[in-house]
Point group: none
Chain length 148, copies 2
DNA sequence: TGAAATCGTGGGAATAAGTGGGAATAACTG
DNA sequence: CAGTTATTCCCACTTATTCCCACGATTTCA
């Protein structure tokens, strides 16, 4: 279970160091095999799945009937973009160049632990999201009963 | 099972190098016989099937009663356009010129691993698709239950 | 407070992959 | 049947990727 946000620097070659706090967790969860895809719902954000978790997601998404345009878009962004990466000797993973540019992730980025997966945001996109509070009109029925 | 996106350059002769990561997979899945057709649902996109997979698709499509116009259109784009290709010594396949122009695929293209088949997009068309996030109003009933 | 260890970052070299061009062969047309 | 055009195969070069090493900063423990 991943949680917390970490400031990350991506170097010119597109390498990104996994924070030490997560190293053991990742090694245990998926033998160091991570899968990078697009976040289909947000631009400027990539998803990082442990391989075991990814397989579940992939199978769910592939099972959707591809006659619907939305489903094809989802399959394209998730399965079509999925890149498997393994950390190097220094615990760094290599972001595929295409995804780095498409998500607009440059030197400064933010890694978020989101339960079963990570989210990688460009610093700007992340800051913009955080600054933006949740308005009352957005509250869903599921949220209404929360005790926070 | 193919997945991931790769930037591909198509040279003046219409040759396209299969990424090394897929070479063995393709050789195993279909003895290097690939079938190229149009993606009937998206313009600017071609489909590449391993031969074994193609036979299933072809038989399904051919079985549709051809009195309906939609069926004929599908049969035309899939069966009617199917070209079998095999990689050369350098692991490159030759795109038929007609399909290259029809799909608008020029020098810069993107190859997507989509489970049982590949998709070949022109760089522009692909980028446009990726940049476009999935909005809340587009979510289908099938998608609502996904746990991503 | 100092020293050691660990973590993060950058750069460089070896290797592999991708790309382009050219020549030989085959096919097609007049 | 000959000339021209298209296709295929092969070789070589350039570019990208991967692995490894080293330096600097920060933290931790004695």
């Amino acid at each position: 279970m991943f949680q917390g946000e970490t400031a990350i620097t991506v170097d010119d070659k597109g390498r990104l160091a996994i924070p030490t706090a997560y190293r053991e967790l990742v090694a245990g969860a998926c033998a160091n095999r991570l899968v990078i895809t697009y976040n289909p719902f947000e631009s400027g954000c990539l998803w990082l799945f442990p391989h075991a978790e990814w397989e579940k997601v992939r199978d769910q998404v592939n099972a959707l009937p591809s006659v619907k345009a939305v489903h094809r878009a989802l399959q394209m962004k998730l399965v079509g973009a999925a890149a498997m990466v393994e950390p190097d000797g220094a615990g760094r993973i290599l972001l595929p160049g295409s995804q780095r540019t498409a998500a607009g992730i440059e030197k400064k980025a933010v890694l978020l632990g989101m339960g079963s997966k990570f989210e990688l945001w460009s610093e700007q996109a992340h800051l913009a999201k955080i600054r933006q509070t949740i308005g009352e009109d957005e509250i869903s029925d599921d949220m209404a009963d929360l005790r926070l």
